[in-house]
Subunit: 360 residues, 2 copies
């Protein structure tokens, strides 16, 4: 299970990212929909200042007709609203050894929102993607330098993914206009995929007849065992269960203290590949596992609540953990799946709870 | 000026705090009022789950009449709304050497909100604080272990501070009910004081006839040069100016790149002691300083916008900085004021900008 140690120390560069971006405090697993401001956030460059009056969404490339839309145009179209769990592809990175240097997530880079917007498929059909179209490229207004390349943030998805019914161009989160940090005025939401796909501050959609080879596709977000590997792209979220930590925390260590009595342990689990079919819980550091009870699903693309009645029999220090399995047969590993970029580390987390003695 | 290095590496314990809590990304200095989710956040223990129907505010201690109020009772009272800049007392801590171990802030633990609520003074007068009252203690519903002591988070202020006209018990932030992470359903707001005073998830107010000696008052939040010192309490915010960094960032280093042309550098400055009377800017690493132009104040207790026209004459690497002075004569130092707890480090920040060459 994910060990406690962070190998070496976190550098200034990593800390600068960690003080800007933030995870979801794990006690926020109490909410089926993550309240505003608690959803995880990863911003590659700066939050751009966008004037919604000036802003346009342009659709171009390998299409029959180029399209230019205002925010009002998009709001006037039929809308869809969908609860979606979104996780950063780098979640768990800081648990890896050696540690890949980037945003140093532990385990909390996740959140679930109601995203409302215009379905993408109808827009692409109106523009008329031509024969030979392979991918759809999404370009944001956030600009910066990465790997020596000055760039707008942009990522593509295969055409077949872009045409899925549940893909939306979202202009609302939890019933309010998108906050600046979540992509105001518009962001892409591709349910099931890691966060990097859900391009924020969206300004341009380009239908391509060849694979996109920009920085964020060819160099970033690939699973590689060696920096020289071509690697394979990061796509959908691997299954993960997280626990709302029981008891109360110690300020600095975040270790937990709970009284000696039965305790309802709860949490949520998700996978981008298929529905969650089981969550198991250990209270002895992974020696034995018992099934948790699953709640009714919130939606096809949102996390699923679970609960487990824990009855510690004596005071002591317990190591808890939970692991999820999806209907496609993917299961969380106990050991970290290492790769150069530190992506998709869904190893089971340790939650240390001291029962019966509240003094450290 | 605050050096770039973080001495040693950040530990797992510090990182755990940094991935939960978060600063305000500095480009959010573009907003006079910080949008929801971008205001800094420091949560000592966990965000508690509060049922607003069950919740009550109790006022007791050295009073004529004990008072118990529902949220509706508070909302039915005359309300005040005030823009307040709030900064964590630990802002700048991770720049100190040796580095005090706690939440490792760099410089972004700040934000400004419109806080609306019931003025405290009228409530204390209705309860009738008796002769001999010295302090008012505020107790939150957040509970945890710190320094070996299991505790509710609680802090006191001198009675004279509690009776200031502008102190409110806030139930709204920026026109909406308090979000869970900012203290729903009620928090104390004492304009001018560092964040730790503004107790969240407020449940109890106790008028005291002697000084409060709890953990957060006697051990936490004191300025000490040696762990054995009695020290002096941390109270109001020292002056600080921050700059919205010009140009675009490099992803990992956060260093900036800007074209060779005139640039309007902007930012905001605040002090808890007195109004801001000047902001000066350096573009040569502190060798020379020139005055910035101050905007009209947003309010007596909120930061003040400033701007400075920078005309770099040739390509190169520039070190920018800004420093604030208040009407009480407090000015930001160039070197870090060290203390055991790492509080109130308001040394001038360095902002490195490479002009004219966007490639790293």
């Amino acid at each position: 299970m994910n060990a406690a140690a962070v190998e070496g120390g976190i550098s200034l560069e990593e800390l600068q990212l960690a003080t800007r971006n933030h995870g979801m405090p794990l006690e926020a697993l109490q909410y089926p929909i993550t309240p505003g401001g608690l959803h995880y956030l990863l911003i590659h460059y700066d939050i751009p200042a966008v004037d919604p009056e000036e802003w346009r969404l342009e659709i171009a490339g390998n299409v029959e007709r180029e399209v230019s839309l205002t925010l009002d145009d998009l709001r006037a179209r039929p809308a869809a609203e969908i609860p979606v769990t979104m996780e950063c592809a780098g979640n768990g990175r800081a648990r890896l050894a050696p540690r890949p240097i980037s945003q140093p997530w532990l385990s909390e880079a996740v959140g679930t929102g109601w995203w409302r917007g215009a379905p993408l498929r109808a827009l692409l059909e109106e523009a008329g993607h031509r024969d030979g179209s392979l991918e759809v490229l999404f370009t944001g207004l956030d600009r910066g330098v990465e790997g020596g390349v000055e760039q707008d943030y942009e990522r593509s998805v295969p055409l077949v993914e872009a045409l899925r019914d549940e893909v939306v161009l979202a202009y609302e989160l939890n019933g309010a206009p998108l906050p600046p940090q979540h992509g105001f005025p518009l962001r892409l939401v591709v349910p099931g995929w890691y966060g990097m796909t859900n391009v924020k501050w969206l300004s341009r959609i380009t239908v391509l007849d060849r694979p996109f080879d920009g920085y964020q596709q060819e160099r970033g977000y690939r699973l590689r065992q060696d920096p020289e590997d071509e690697g394979t792209p990061v796509t959908r979220m691997m299954p993960r269960a997280l626990m709302r930590p029981p008891g109360v925390p110690e300020f600095l260590t975040r270790e937990r203290f709970a009284p000696l009595k039965p305790c309802e342990v709860t949490g949520r689990a998700w996978s981008g590949w298929a529905p969650i079919v089981s969550v198991e819980v250990t209270t002895d550091g992974g020696t034995s596992w018992a099934p948790a009870e699953l709640e009714r699903p919130l939606g096809e693309w949102a996390w699923r609540g679970w609960s487990f009645r824990w009855e510690p029999s004596e005071p002591g220090r317990y190591v808890l953990g939970c692991r999820a399995r999806d209907a496609a047969g993917n299961e969380q590993p106990l050991d970290e799946p290492w790769n150069v970029g530190g992506y998709a580390n869904n190893a089971v987390e340790r939650v240390v709870v001291t029962v019966g003695d509240p003094s450290v």
